[in-house]
Symmetry: C3
Subunit: 342 residues, 3 copies
């Protein structure tokens, strides 16, 4: 597969500056691209690579102004990042898609498989499962009884979906993610032993949800743990029973959300954040990495940090002082000495 700068510019609705016939056959980051590579430049931090890159073609924003010489051919577009993402997507779609149903899968007779599904070896599909059209299920995944999978999903190797869960359309679940394991509910007994509270609810993922590798989303005690449309969840995240996460919220790796907490839509939650149970987090809230949220956040679009978390500016101001606490203590010591000597 070779394309000229001109062909690419046409596909992206962009404009070539340089050699229209420059040929590319691979995609690369601008700091790594060599001859034959197509790169992009969007983040100004990386601009200096443009002046030395040996990549054949670089996609840049319309407004880009070079301050030094360079030898590559440019394609100017409205949004270099989005344009390059479109190229990546084309590239990925050009790869062959797996097809067919393995004879080494175990599929219940009552399961209903859509058109054009792929079911790999060593997959188990339980009773009454519904698999939507074009959905791909990779090896060693287990889809338990009564689960419904929407159309155009990708269920990677080793994913487990416990019974009764509902997965929407265009969802991707990465390897090792566990959807629908029991919530962590135990009733303390007089004997100091704990008695398990059966967890009879389920998990619902709405459309266009992406779940990272080895993430765990527990089923509700009753009712549903709900992940709304367009939510993106990174790796190794814990979502406890009866949590609800609003549309298009994004959560970075290793964050944990305790039971029955309800997160708004369009939130951005950093990595390794912990959120206590039974809280409500307003829409558009941003939570800095490693924060611990112990109270509901009612103000939309607020930004918090700390453990427990509070307003990020105040946290950062306090932390600056924390770093210099030794000096503050010495100043107080000095004031006390002065005070006594007077």
């Amino acid at each position: 597969m070779k394309f000229t700068a001109e062909q690419i510019a046409q596909a992206l609705n962009g404009k070539v500056e340089g050699d229209k016939m420059a040929e590319v056959s691979t995609l690369a980051k601008i700091e790594e691209g060599g001859k034959g590579a197509l790169c992009f430049l969007s983040n100004p931090k990386y601009t200096h690579y443009l002046y030395s890159t040996k990549a054949s073609v670089v996609i840049v924003n319309n407004g880009f102004v070079a301050e030094k010489k360079y030898s590559t051919t440019l394609i100017r577009v409205r949004n270099a990042y989005a344009a390059f993402a479109a190229v990546l997507e084309l590239y990925q779609k050009s790869r062959p898609s797996p097809q067919g149903i393995s004879s080494m899968a175990v599929i219940a007779e009552s399961a209903k498989l859509g058109k054009n599904v792929f079911i790999d070896a060593f997959v188990v599909i339980g009773e009454n499962v519904v698999v939507g059209d074009n959905t791909q299920i990779f090896s060693n995944a287990a889809i338990s009884n009564n689960v419904s999978l929407g159309t155009d999903c990708i269920i990677n190797s080793g994913v487990k979906v416990y019974e009764d869960c509902i997965i929407g359309a265009h969802c991707t679940i990465h390897s090792g993610a566990i959807v629908g394991a029991d919530g962590f509910g135990f009733a303390p007994q007089d004997s100091k032993d704990y008695k398990k509270i059966p967890q009879i609810g389920n998990v619902i993922l709405e459309d266009r949800v992406e779940i990272g590798a080895n993430t765990t989303i527990d089923r509700a005690t009753m009712g549903s743990t709900i992940i709304r449309k367009g939510v993106k969840i990174d790796n190794l995240i814990q979502i406890a029973h009866n949590v609800e996460i609003g549309e298009n919220t994004v959560i970075a790796a290793q964050t944990g959300i305790s039971g029955s907490t309800k997160i708004g839509k369009n939130c951005m939650i950093g990595g390794q954040v912990g959120i206590v149970g039974h809280l409500v987090i307003a829409d558009g809230v941003m939570i800095a990495a490693q924060s611990g949220v112990g109270k509901s956040i009612t103000e939309e679009n607020s930004i918090v940090e700390g453990s427990p978390a509070f307003g990020i500016r105040n946290y950062q101001r306090s932390y600056v002082h924390f770093r210099r606490l030794d000096s503050l203590v010495k100043r107080v010591n000095e004031l006390e000495r002065n005070s006594k000597s007077k």
Copy 2:
């Protein structure tokens, strides 16, 4: 399945207040229950839902006093939460249990299977494995050589138990949990390279242990990593080599316990806690979420917070001041100004 309020009250040793013939056919949370639903009310925070619920029957504590009108039928019991848990359990037991041994499992001839075991497709059972009566092993689980599984266990899909480990009776292990992988032991070499220390011990889970999804419990270097009776461990938790966890201790998600640390019984450990290696934590200790424990805790029932952790009240007091550090610094600035001007 339909039951009347009277039937349920009899089963729970409770007393109906309202329509004895009110019928229920489903279980729900009080904030979600509609006609035909049986709910419970235990946490006072949820009392206001009682006055508007359309649930047909609500289980409440004997001492509950309504302060407004409501339209549902009540069942009064000694402990509403426990009574409802009993109902959930009955509900769960009424579901059909999987049976039999899949022809698509690979089971070593030397393995000994108890009565009434369930072994799903694509399970591997190694040499000399013992599986207790009524134990269920779901798809794609791997039980390695010389492992012993007690009676009435549930080993969910994709669980891996490495060789020589011992699992007691009535244990539940959720999907993706890894029991008995190598402890993280490496000896630094003069070359700055590390040499692996073979990990030849095992993991012992005593009876009634529950292990959450994708949790990892490493085998001992020598001897055993031991999880005592009744311990409940949530998802994505790391238990390092040679750790011992005392009876009925409960650990929330994403906590990590480093090598050779010994946790007492009846402890409660919050989420995302980290505990350094080679420590001893006394019985009944509570550790707040996200804390980092760097020293042994010798006082039973103490409660700690912070990283490093200390007494929770002191931590919270310090943290209140931390939040206002900017104001404290300004006050010290002012004092210094005054001091100089005098």
Copy 3:
């Protein structure tokens, strides 16, 4: 298998003190060893066990000087820890190694298998995969298209290696680890929805890398996520796309490293550490557990703590003051009272 103290001393190039004919048949920790056990003593904290141990033989450092009576036989060596590790290794190598290729594995015809490989039941090996000599792949592992596995690797049960990844020689990957899942890359859209950025790169593990259970290492957006020679990564760790980790760096459990960050060689990173994306961490840096690194660390061999992290001594000094903040505030209150009363 029984050995005398003398035989062991010869093998370890050590010197017996006591009964040369003392026999051992098992290995144990010094605090647990009984008759017939071979133990070692290296950490001075454990010295007191020597005076009461019933172990038959204990390996000690040449310089060890007993301060009380003891009844065991000693073997003196240059480095007791290293000598014992060598014994453990011999013990482990004496265990039978699994052999052969299961008829219940699915192996693409285009895959190339080396000599003496072990492939367990329910393993899937994709197109064009290369498996090096002596490599063992345990049950339910999935090795996707175009993956290359070096010689002498151990791929434990349930490991998933996504397509195009490259694994060096002498690597061990523990159960449930996921190598090569998509990096977490999404472009925000005007609609507040996110568009997935295809992740077309791969992961490269160089030689002698060990990856812990349920750890996730994401593939690069473009190019490679690279784990250099000799790196040891514990359980439940998140390595994001395009990260690079330098030779012989060691990372403890539950740490997360964000996208495109480059860690130096010979670093030691504690548990539950978080590192922001696009940073550079110098060689030999040590990061205390639970720290959050928000800026590049340019000074080699520096040691940091805190969230955000700074010099460990300064952090610890500040934290001592943080613990006593209440007292500091009271002192400032007092100063203010005095100041006003003057």
